[in-house]
Assembly symmetry: D2
Homo-oligomer: 361 residues x 4
């Protein structure tokens, strides 16, 4: 199988290209009885969709998701839930300028190497378009986590270029703060500088990278499996499965490389009859299993590879040529990345929530 | 299932605790006809085993691996290969000082939260002892990759504390250079400073973190799947599944956060009739699929949590107490981490090599 | 996950209820380059659809399948293929007579026991309606098998009530013969008697069971895995996963219970430089691996449980009541069962064809 | 992967050949806290082992199973359990008479076709020797089912040649009755005739087939998944995965082919405030989900293929030759088949018990 399924017990299978008729997700393993309707997807789909602000591509996609199965009288039935998002931006463009040449930073060449031919319209299956149905699936996971344990999964833009946000307590960030700026950074001062930087980069026909942080609060101790399916391993895979992610870390992340054990260990204590740690350099996971402390993750997202300026490349006959990626692209991927990353984190947590039921009943 | 299986087509399943009778791996999906005997595991097991140098724990484990199945007349049969490593260090110690209290940075508390009870001897299933059979399984993967495509997977210590190695071309690093110093850093100058730092830290009854780099050369373009099972996603999961890893990146890694697209894109060219990129900030993977360029990864490893100094903690009744982790521990995990990380990278590559056969025959 | 995915490398995931908006399949693992369009599904969907003859239910469903992804310029891309079949027969009926009571022989009670509530309209997910997308997925598998190895998968009705077909050589049956009668029995004489029997049973407001045979020709020796994923095991699961199947056998089937080894063993010989057996009591599989001889299967299908006559039952409050299943039902499931069974056999064979590529390259 | 793993949540992975050093199973997903020690395997291993009576092969294997992991202080820890059974009968025999020729009815030819070479000693991986560790894994499943729900899984020999047992109520058969005769048939009169028949067949240097029945009592309503992972589908796969099984059925089995719906439907009623059916032609599963009624299965087992008389065959160069299978073989596989079949049924039920926890908590 070509890797279009994710998860063990809460399981998401997807299909769809950027310029085909539709994208589809089948979400399997959702327990029965959860209230659900298509409008539950609207908030996160709106956060992901193009054209939402001057910081993102001006391409317009409505991204309306329909539920085709698995819900009856407003509640999940326990059977598989199919979600359909039709592609509206399918107008017949002229692809002759790109169909035979490889866009730098894109998967055009690697798809050709893998499959022998490819759908060259907008990147086909390699387009971030496929994440729309992930976001819808993630909205189900979020709803399940909130209903069962009051868990919140919140992401925000932590860095754009050299501008880095200052966030005191990650577990205190609420989605309302995140949504107050189009750049999705809850540090208002940093947000303004990020916005300026993105606008400047756009004017210069360039793009800029960044980093996102994510925090899940309310996860009980004991989720995750001890060896290969450590919670950190499944979260790592989930975030790396998103386009443009080149690095993932949790807790103190790469800072541990220069730390000493005596500084790095989080000491245990007791608070309200509950075992806690006094600091959270371990990012809420010890031995790959949740500790009950907030789960804190960070990931690095590269600058958009599509640039409205000529770049040297080769074509599929191995000849040197140049390419200018037309169309409308985000100068910075980060603002629209947030709902995608939240969705993947929520899907992993929902999976391990259900897996833990098999362990302890 | 409690997550003790890894991989889709080349598949590794493990069992074993640090102080039980033995550790076992079953390696499934190895094609028939590969020459294999137990001595193929010796080199990497020796690199992983305790007591190999003054930099590591002085605990002595011989780590002899036996092949119990799947090999006939010196070649693999195509059926599942069972590998057994008996535990020799099973002496009956007095665990009364730790059996009811939670070691900071360890999985004692999270195992109790997950399972309700735990094997407290040496960490049980959460001990890095379980990686011995992963290293043996990885040796099979390495042999398969070398035989089929001449692929080499080499890891080295890139950083210890503030000492960072200078490596010009990661794809030029050979295992012989890596093995020239006990710290496994091919930059001789940095290696000496790393060794001094580790010895100093040990004297101070402390531990120190670091980072490892990995490079796989010879991987053809086209391995990896487009969405969830991107090569970077499976490699990310593999490395995060190892104990003490808090961060994973590939190519330019977290540096992309401050990069511009015009600088970050690797331009395509042609060399010896083969499509290449002129730089390798993409770390050998585009759209999650191998590009034919060297695959370059980096991961952050925390300082050893077990410290020979008293640390505050709580016991399983929620009472404040202190703990001193006795026994013999590595002051820095990095030197012994290298063969573990190489093994996991090789296992992922072997899996995707076989998966690609289903795509293109 | 609630079991809506089938297969390891050629993998089918489905969703959909009988009276929801649509049924969906995502077919993953189809190699790139296979010519495919929606009309490839038409033949088998027409064989499966209600209302095709006087022998089947008179319910009318057009069953038009749309391909939503994974095909570009008339060929598969190697990415996941989504197939959508909208439900047309969704008229709002009055379900008050059945919504709270359990139809004998149906899954109403077991769904309630499993999930706590259920979609009672037409059986919801337990309806044979879900097999429509399996048939479409099977048409892809058939096309792949034919293109790669010239494999044919043909099924026919072998028995209805006490009428049993006489078929000399199962591997000589062609689909054209099967389609010559609406009962799908290539023994013309038996077919006539089956048709009479079904019409009589319908008049008596009753239903009748039967058996189907299946034969796959052209399967090379060597497909199937030696232990749990024996070809016979995966074929057995595939056929038992279809509604109403109570028995599955291959080769000599239950007759082996009274056979002696000296009669039952198929002796090996050589024909056209190819190892063959002189008889085929082993049904084309030895040790669970294909032998190169025709694969011959048989399965027993129960009489339709829905009967247009009153039956005693209980309601969801545990009270005795009666039920008359209205609506239009097949008096015998067998004729429409054939394309479903062929589809499942083809899906298993396509999966093992691709799995064998990983073994031998 | 070459199919050496079975199950979704309760998951068994095996390795081992008949004449290699050992057979191994890793059982993953066993919940923590279940009392377990190696002697729990003894009863069923003794029922499976060769040499147990004059009806079976006189080969002697002690079959002692060791637990290598996953159990601490007499209880399961929740981590993976490795079970080791060393092969004692490894004496170096002269295989020159069979190593290049294909035994009729065996997997010699199909293994060669699949893998290109094979372990020819005693069948290698295709030998029923591999079922020893399945029986041990099944003993864990049985213990879990009994502890959680009081479930009993009992199998017996239902038929040998033309001798068919008369069993009134399958759910009333107890293992003690089964074990009262070496042929494992609780109908004492039929048992005597079976024994005579087997002894006669042995004298005639031949073998005889048979059928086994299985009954699981105490399974609650609601286990099994609605589409591909129907309980009957997973049970069917489990039984077909055993050597020599050519047919599987449940409930009324192949008799439904000649039944009418009005006779075949089991009507619902209420007994002790519990929904029951008044008959059990559905064998305890409706829509593939357990109904709370006893689960009743039957399978056909072919006569032993190894015969102590010359049989015509070909060698691996395609030349006609003859073969006499020396060594000690069972004249009838059925008595030793019972514990294997019980084990596979128990493994499927344990898996679906744990899967149902994810559905309903």
């Amino acid at each position: 199988m070509s890797g279009n399924t994710f998860g063990h017990t809460f399981r998401v299978t997807t299909a769809g290209e950027s310029h085909g008729p539709a994208n589809v997700a089948i979400v399997d393993g959702v327990p029965p009885g959860l209230p659900l309707c298509a409008s539950d997807f609207a908030f996160d789909l709106a956060r992901r969709r193009p054209g939402q602000s001057s910081l993102t591509t001006q391409r317009q996609e409505a991204d309306e998701a329909r539920i085709l199965s698995g819900v009856f009288e407003g509640r999940t039935t326990g059977t598989s839930i199919a979600i359909l998002i039709e592609n509206q931006d399918q107008r017949s463009r002229d692809y002759s300028a790109i169909k035979d040449r490889y866009r730098p930073g894109h998967a055009d060449y690697t798809f050709d190497a893998k499959y022998g031919h490819r759908d060259y319209r907008g990147g086909g299956r390699s387009s971030a378009r496929e994440t729309a149905v992930r976001v819808a699936a993630g909205a189900i996971a979020k709803k399940l986590l909130a209903a069962a344990h009051g868990i919140r999964v919140v992401g925000w833009v932590d860095q754009v270029g050299d501008v880095v946000a200052q966030i005191g307590d990650p577990s205190a960030v609420h989605v309302e703060e995140v949504e107050q700026t189009p750049v999705r950074c809850p540090d208002r001062d940093a947000a303004e500088r990020m916005i300026s930087l993105i606008e400047q980069v756009r004017k210069e026909r360039d793009s800029i990278g960044g980093a996102a942080s994510l925090c899940a609060t309310g996860v009980p101790a004991g989720w995750g499996e001890p060896v290969f399916d450590k919670l950190k391993a499944d979260l790592g895979k989930a975030l790396f499965s998103l386009p443009a992610v080149l690095g993932v870390s949790y807790g103190a992340g790469f800072d541990v490389a220069s730390a000493r054990g005596s500084d790095n260990n989080d000491l245990f204590g007791v608070e309200n009859d509950r075992v806690v740690t006094r600091s959270n350099r371990h990012g809420g996971m010890l031995g790959g299993i949740s500790s009950g402390m907030p789960i804190v993750l960070r990931c690095a997202v590269k600058p958009t590879s599509s640039l409205p300026q000529p770049q040297e490349t080769v074509n599929d006959r191995g000849e040197a040529t140049t390419i200018v990626t037309k169309g409308r692209h985000d100068p910075c991927l980060l603002p629209r990345f947030i709902p995608m990353a939240e969705a993947m984190v929520a899907i992993v947590l929902a999976d391990h929530m259900l897996r833990q039921r098999a362990v302890r009943g």
